[in-house]
Amino acid sequence: METELFTANNIWMMLCTALVFFMHLGFSFLEIGLTRQKNTINILFKNVFIICTGLLLYYIGGFNLMYPGEFNGFLGFSGFGLAIPENGLTAEYANGGYTYWTDFLFQGMFAATAATIVSGAVAERIKLEAFMIFTLLYVGLAYPIVGSWQWGGGFLSTLGGTDGGFYDFAGSTLVHSVGGWAALIAIILLGPRIGKFGKDGKPKAILGHNIPLAAAGVLILWLGWFGFNGGSVLSGDPATTSLVLVTTSLAAAAGGISAFIASFILYKNYDLTMFLNGILGGLVGITAGADLMSPFEAISIGFLAGILIIIGVSLIDKLKLDDPVGAIAVHLICGIWGTLAVGIFGDLAGIQQFFYQLSGVAIVAAFCCLSSFVILIILKKIIGIRVSKTEEIEGLDQHEHGMDAYPDFRMNQH
């Protein structure tokens, strides 16, 4: 391969790495915007902690746990730290797509995302120490192990032997559902926020305190997704990268539109937060098959994802669970939908592929639910996972951090 092409590919992959990094700001903004001001510092603290520890953990062992090279398909580990292979900086390393360093950083940026998803769902009530320990274990071990099963060349990628296997282009399951399942287990164990359900058991609205910030977060995430999906091509291949950006954007647009229409039909109200969640649902939905879909198929996937968001958000309320930012609907439900959609739409569609997709979803579900349950139940027994009632009512910012996000605006003493 020519040096110019290798250089161009690598630049594209580094740009995508930067875009995926930027998504962490998007997640933070969305999460802050849809929660109350008294917990803002706490949420930012968690998100910043996730990025820093996510990268360090990926350096320590995550990268080599996720990409162990030749292994038994279930669990492999090629050593601590980074050890650059002989050809790591040449075009031989990854078909000329990127260097070893780019590989590490791009994948490292992905790793932290799984914990960010959990952070949104458990916001406003989880004990900070418990969340930090959970993040260390889940991002450090569970995420790379699941990743190795598919992207590391493990057993999911060869479910059908040589005929093919599970397919997950950029992580509807491997990233979003991995975070989503843990989020679901966590909110079941945590219980709803005080005031989320009335004495009659009916759900109550707990308003987000900064909707403009939430909107900015979602638009930043959309931008970041160009890197998340675009970079998952693993090179700057003109045909595939450009297709992926088109399918990604069309699915996002369709998801937003269908969510706002569905929400208007059901609730007679133009709810911006549902519109925003719909965009994210579309993005998560297209992620598993962004390189396989035609534009129209991408729109169909996004459109259904948007409707699933509306159903999902109210389903969570009906189940007496509390997910302040809609993380379960966006990342879990749309993650499952996007993964299954690979068997329904696009180049791989077929009964056999649908079965592979379904198996992948089920296997990852079992592993993630079990591992997050074990981690959280042990934490619950040892240090507790929920803050005290007083702390929850007065705000985590005051009690855990002794700070106020907006010291000049103390109007709302909830």
Partner: protein, 112 residues
């Protein structure tokens, strides 16, 4: 001297201010207030309907001489009116003393 306090719709504030200027009441204070009342506002947030009785209004406080009372009250009654529930209220009370800090004047000359 009298103090006239009025709670009015924010949307009627400019009309009220204009009407007060018309009758040469040029000095007053105001601030935004939140209260509870009969008016219920229905909202939907993420699929959950809720109603709030917290109502946003503007509070005006005017101190005037006794002979201005009637026309001031009338000006507000006319200018703040829409006919719908929630137009607000006016309260009149006595003021025993008033001082102008700069000149140390008191009484009627202290307020205009």
């Amino acid at each position: 001297m009298k103090k006239i306090e009025a709670i009015i719709r924010k949307s009627k504030f400019d009309d009220v201010k204009e009407a007060l200027h018309q009758i040469e009441v040029n000095f007053f204070s105001y601030w935004d207030v939140t209260g509870v009342g009969n008016e219920k506002q229905g909202h939907v947030y993420r699929g959950i309907t809720y109603s709030t009785t917290d109502i946003q209004r503007r509070f005006i406080s005017i101190v005037i001489s006794d002979d201005f009372q009637e026309k001031t009250v009338n000006a507000i009654l006319e200018s703040a009116y829409t006919g719908n529930i929630g137009d607000g209220k006016i309260f009149v009370s006595d003021i025993s003393e008033a001082y102008r800090i700069r000149t140390k004047e008191n009484g009627h000359t202290g307020i205009n």
